[in-house]
């Protein structure tokens, strides 16, 4: 599998404190890397830095070229980023939002909308959607971006069970098509279902990169989240029954 993106000694700061220090790792085509960590640890900031949307120290290479050497318009052909859409006040419809994501080659809009179950919403203003509908719209907008790298910030947030499963299936299918996917997730089951590699961020500057087999470990995850995680191997779950918090 070819390397499509590479981080070398990446450092991310926010509000004067270091969220991430000296993270180095490769991202391969056809691979899913899941970013895990507690709230405020810097997971979203990592994705923003990788998308060139916030400044970061160290080096980020995209397709063998430093990220800083790309013009913003060129970078959109390499990286697609999905994050929370802020409230919009100007009546932009779901279809218009998808057209903006698809650009000139926006011929797949109807098919993509159908895949994300948002066909009936196409003419609705974004401001009238529920959180889950907005999330599905944003996932559809991402699907219209044919870039080698996808960065997703909690893609299953706000989704009901059916659409969470649909989202995970979609990511698996994209991975099979050779897309490099980096996604922040909070659900351990979902992470285990798709992760090839993990990045664990503790929020104190330390970050660990490794294969899913190496890092999916109840003790390590309990320590990371400062919360009880029980189980073995591919079955790790939060311990909701215990009082060990």
């Amino acid at each position: 599998m070819s390397i499509v993106m590479m981080l070398a000694n990446l450092t991310v700061e926010r509000g004067g404190s270091t969220l991430l220090s000296a993270l180095s790792c490769p991202f391969h085509a056809g691979e899913v890397v899941v970013v895990l960590g507690p709230n405020g640890a810097g997971k979203s900031s990592l994705l923003l830095a990788m998308a060139g949307l916030i400044p970061a120290g160290g080096n980020i290479d995209v397709a063998g070229k430093p990220l800083s050497a790309y013009r913003r318009s060129e970078l959109t052909r390499q990286i697609a980023w999905q994050g929370d859409l802020p409230p919009t006040e100007f009546g932009l419809t779901v279809k218009q939002r998808l057209v903006l994501a698809a650009g000139e080659a926006g011929s797949n809009i109807e098919a993509t909308a159908a895949a994300m179950d948002i066909t009936p919403l196409l003419e609705r203003p974004l401001g009238e959607l529920s959180s889950g509908e907005r999330q599905r719209t944003e996932l559809a907008a991402l699907m219209l971006r044919d870039t080698p790298v996808w960065l997703l910030d909690e893609p299953t947030a706000h989704l009901d069970l059916k659409h969470q499963i649909q989202c995970i299936h979609m990511l698996k299918a994209q991975k099979a098509h050779g897309r490099a996917i980096v996604t922040v997730l909070h659900d351990l089951q979902q992470a285990m279902a798709i992760a090839d590699h993990l990045i664990l961020i503790d929020g104190k500057g330390a970050a660990e990169y490794g294969t899913a087999t190496q890092l999916f470990d109840s003790e390590r995850l309990s320590q990371l989240f400062n919360a009880p995680v029980v189980g073995q191997g591919a079955v790790l779950v939060p311990d909701y029954g215990g009082d060990d918090l």
């Binding site: 949307l53 913003r72 859409l85 802020p86 919009t88 218009q96 939002r97």
Partner: protein
């Protein structure tokens, strides 16, 4: 959509007829009876109609740009205090040369740009900072204006108040310049329309879709400010056109700027032509300041839009 553009074309024709025909006495533009009527129609009313159309269009374009620039649907051309600084400049001009409209216009133009540079200096292009700086500076300019009005000789007061409420009767700027500005502003707006659409998704999403947001903000601020300064210089401060028209056009033509901007440039022009026709007619042969009429038309329209959206 074609039907909506056709309706707008019909509105243009109707407003042209009303703008030319209405006044102290009604003159049918197709059957101007004598030389005097011809002179009134083509040498007095037509230039004034075109001035009103260009100024209204420029204000509506500036309003649409400020709304996207600040991410705030309540923004309008004077939101950053440009009306206050331009008024202060105009009154300063009046203090030095009470008889000269030209000096007053120059004062307004300089005042508008002083206001814009002050906002730019204090806001560093952040939308929230820009809005806050605009509100605070507007209060400052309003205090400066009150001070200048207190010092202004009595004969200048009526002229100052009339200008501050919008006055198309003393416009010194050539009509061709204003129409050219209307065309250039609309063309610039259309060139930026794709990036403006993306900015509706928020700063980060726009950047992720390839927009250099900082550069776009600077361009928008300069463009909207230049257009506002020109409109204020031509006709004083005329409210509500820049607030109401972009909303109305979004309701009719959707949110994408390749439709909203031309529709606003035309719709703003038409609103001001209608308002000016009414201002010249209601208490003829005297005239009302056109700003009063735009407020009287604009406020109910805006409240209607508000209720409809609810």
């Amino acid at each position: 959509m074609t039907l909506r553009w056709f309706a707008l074309a019909c509105a243009i024709a109707a407003c042209l007829l009303i703008g030319l025909g209405a006044g102290d006495t009604w003159i049918n533009p197709f059957h101007a009876g004598n030389g005097l009527e011809n002179t009134i129609l083509w040498e007095l009313r037509l230039p004034r109609l075109l001035t009103a159309f260009a100024v209204g269009g420029l204000l509506a374009l500036a309003g649409a740009w400020f709304q996207v620039l600040l991410g705030n649907p309540l923004a309008e051309p004077y939101v950053l205090g440009v009306a206050g600084s331009a008024s202060a400049g105009a009154v300063t001009g009046l203090m030095f040369m009470p008889e000269s409209t030209w000096v007053m216009s120059a004062g307004a133009f300089i005042g508008a740009w002083v206001g814009i540079v002050a906002v730019l200096f204090f806001s560093r292009l952040g939308p929230n900072r820009m809005l806050l700086a605009g509100v605070v500076l507007a209060a400052f300019w309003s205090a400066v204006l009150a001070l200048l009005l207190a010092l202004l000789p009595e004969q200048g007061l009526f002229r100052a108040f009339s200008w501050m409420m919008g006055d198309l009767s003393h416009s010194d700027l050539p009509v061709t310049l204003l129409l050219l500005a209307w065309v250039i502003a609309l063309a610039c707006g259309l060139i930026l329309s794709g990036a403006l659409d993306k900015l509706l998704l928020g700063e980060r999403h726009a950047e992720a879709l390839g927009v250099d947001v900082k550069r776009l903000r600077l361009r928008l601020l300069l463009l909207a400010s230049a257009v506002t300064a020109l409109a204020v210089t031509a006709a004083g401060t005329i409210g509500f056109v820049g607030l109401v028209i972009p909303h109305l056009m979004r309701l009719i033509f959707g949110s994408l700027h390749r439709a909203v901007l031309p529709a606003s440039a035309i719709g703003g022009g038409l609103l001001l032509v209608l308002a000016d026709s009414a201002a010249r007619t209601i208490i003829a042969p005297a005239e009302l300041p056109v700003g009063i009429l735009t407020a009287m038309i604009g406020v109910p329209v805006f409240l209607f839009l508000l209720l409809r959206r609810n």
